[in-house]
């Protein structure tokens, strides 16, 4: 069909008798180019207006550095909280039976489905000094809303499903024979967990951690309501991009955007390596 005429320039290694290659690949490449590649190229090219030194100067301004540092530390703590409690949730969902388990399993994905702005205002109202949770923390001198602590809360929410959903399948696949063998050989349950189970789920745990971290660094909607957004104190990097745009500093916004994109690529690379490692480790 269209396959031969449209892509005849390419070496034709396709031996499939199924038609539609040219048409479907054509649609795919066209749509990918228009929606993703050209816009991303526009971002990558923009900071060239500034030159290399201008780019470095733009991303090393104290305010930008403070925002990057804040984004990464809060994302790190949120991902760490998710690693600990996500492991508990995954363990509970795989190993324990209790009524309503299916509902609990389903509700774990809520942060993927709930719009971030809704999560943002809901968490803010909970942790504000007069909120359901805030009213008990406020007398203790713990301020969550409008501080970096609030950012950690919001990022914990949006990263919640990642660790659970990466560890859960590995726990399900885990062969209990190994645990039985360990128990037979006299290991206590704790020893079995530390020496037998934990090493197997560690790569998945780290993958989930990295995914939650990557997502949290770029998060915007849920954070801006609870953060307070004070420059140098509680202003996250994506917000700084929005502020630069509102000041029509396109090159500055693009420079921060490119810096964030580079960091995301590195994290994506690490996640891929971790996933490869975990697949080999689990023998799947």
């Amino acid at each position: 069909m269209t396959g031969r005429s449209f892509f005849s320039v390419f070496p034709r290694r396709d031996r499939s008798i199924i038609p539609g290659f040219g048409l479907t690949l054509g649609i795919t490449l066209f749509y990918l180019t228009i929606i993703v590649l050209i816009p991303l190229a526009a971002l990558a090219l923009r900071p060239t207006d500034l030159g290399f030194s201008g780019f470095v100067a733009a991303v090393t301004q104290p305010r930008v550095l403070a925002a990057l540092k804040l984004s990464f530390t809060t994302a790190f703590f949120a991902a760490a909280i998710n690693a600990v409690f996500g492991l508990a949730v995954a363990w509970m969902l795989v190993r324990y039976e209790f009524p309503g388990k299916k509902v609990v399993d389903a509700i774990v994905d809520l942060p993927f489905a709930l719009p971030t702005a809704v999560a943002g205002i809901a968490l803010t109202s909970l942790y504000a000094p007069n909120g359901w949770i805030g009213q008990y923390l406020d007398p203790l001198g713990i301020k969550v809303a409008f501080t970096p602590l609030g950012i950690v809360v919001a990022l914990t929410f949006i990263g919640l499903p990642f660790v659970v959903r990466t560890v859960q399948p590995v726990l399900e696949e885990l062969d209990t024979e190994l645990e039985e063998a360990a128990a037979c050989l006299g290991a206590t349950r704790l020893e079995t967990f530390i020496r037998v189970i934990f090493p197997v789920i560690l790569p998945a745990l780290m993958t989930g951690f990295a995914m939650a971290l990557a997502r949290a660094v770029g998060e915007y909607g849920s954070v801006i309501f609870i953060a307070g957004n004070m420059p140098m104190v509680s202003e996250i990097t994506p917000l700084l991009i929005v502020i630069k745009l509102e000041q029509f500093d396109y090159a500055g916004a693009a420079a921060i955007g490119v810096a964030m994109l580079l960091i995301s690529f590195i994290m994506l690379l690490v996640i891929n390596l971790l996933q490869r490692w975990s697949r080999r480790w689990a023998g799947i």
């Binding site: 069909m1 499939s16 008798i17 199924i18 038609p19 539609g20 290659f21 479907t24 649609i27 795919t28 749509y31 929606i35 993703v36 991303l40 526009a42 090219l45 508990a88 363990w91 324990y96 209790f98 299916k102 389903a106 509700i107 774990v108 994905d109 809520l110 993927f112 489905a113 709930l114 719009p115 702005a117 809704v118 205002i121 809901a122 968490l123 109202s125 909970l126 909120g131 914990t156 919640l160 959903r165 399948p169 209990t176 039985e180 128990a183 349950r189 990557a214 770029g218 915007y220 994506p238 991009i241 929005v242 745009l245 396109y250 693009a254 955007g257 964030m260 994109l261 690529f265 994290m267």
Partner: protein
């Protein structure tokens, strides 16, 4: 003798934790989910209904809110089918054919998932904005993309780009091409093969992908916030309207609109779970838990 294997000296099964450990793990897990999922969800509905049902209703039918609901639906109606067609095309090309650069293509399709929502909006402002690459040309020809509906649609397409393709590719890979090849050999056309053979095999997976794509399309905030320009009644989608109302301290109205989005999220979760329970085998194994 098997007792020695399955039970330890304390008399509990060897593969179970002491009761207090189990209780502690359950407490930590359920407490965590309670604090981070149930409480925020309950908070949305409580705040929305704080002044009673009639105030709640008024907040939803107020003209600007109504315009926001209509715009959200419009954006989703354009973006979701576009991504559906793309997802099917990409899955067909990738799983039914061999060509060089396939893994690069897969990586590029995944790309929007790893980009910050703000950057997803930023790229279109840099391209089509007043100071953007083609902005001046567009202005001369009277075409408005950024701060108008086309920009919202483009940004939504970008952030929801991989959903359908990511569901269909592993699914169609697992199913193989034997049935399609048989149909073609028996004289079916490509389109007939797709409609009669492939589509029935992938329908639940397709629905699953479309469902998640739609939830994200209607709920996206960061990307559309950057390209919207926040013109009330014109370029405000529901999530953006929530922000405006909230920043005006109109909390009841903000939470009322937010509660609609929360209901959408809950319905999405319910439909997604039903699909997993009823048609789990016909969904892609890799994305079933996603």
């Amino acid at each position: 003798m098997s007792g020695a294997v399955t039970q330890n000296r304390a008399g509990r099964p060897a593969l179970a934790e002491p009761l207090w450990v189990k209780a502690l793990v359950m407490l930590a897990a359920l407490g965590f989910l309670g604090f981070f999922i149930l409480l925020p969800l309950a908070g949305v509905f409580t705040e929305a209904l704080r002044r009673g049902l009639s105030t709640y209703w008024e907040a939803l039918v107020e003209p600007d809110a109504f315009a926001a609901i209509k715009l959200t639906l419009l954006v989703a109606i354009i973006a979701v089918p576009a991504n559906m067609v793309f997802g099917i095309a990409a899955a067909w090309a990738i799983t039914k054919h061999k060509f060089p650069g396939k893994s690069l293509l897969l990586t590029l399709i995944d790309l929007p998932f790893s980009v910050s929502p703000v950057i997803s909006g930023l790229v279109y402002v840099l391209l089509f904005g007043a100071h953007g690459l083609v902005g001046p040309w567009l202005r001369d020809h009277g075409i408005q993309i950024v701060f108008a509906v086309p920009g919202l649609v483009l940004a939504t397409m970008f952030v929801t780009f991989p959903f359908v393709a990511r569901e269909l590719i592993p699914l169609m890979q697992a199913q193989g091409s034997d049935e399609e090849e048989a149909a073609i050999t028996l004289g079916a056309s490509g389109w007939q093969t797709f409609r009669r053979v492939t589509l029935p095999n992938i329908r639940w997976g397709l629905l699953y992908g479309v469902l998640l794509c739609n939830a994200r399309a209607m709920g996206e905030f960061g990307a559309v916030s950057v390209v919207s320009g926040h013109i009330r009644g014109e370029t405000n989608t529901m999530p953006l309207h929530v922000e405006i109302l909230y920043n005006e301290y109109n909390f009841v109205a903000a939470f009322a609109v937010a509660s609609m989005l929360a209901i959408l999220a809950l319905v999405t979760l319910l439909a997604k779970s039903l699909l997993e329970w009823r048609h789990g085998a016909e969904l892609a194994a890799t994305t079933r838990r996603h």
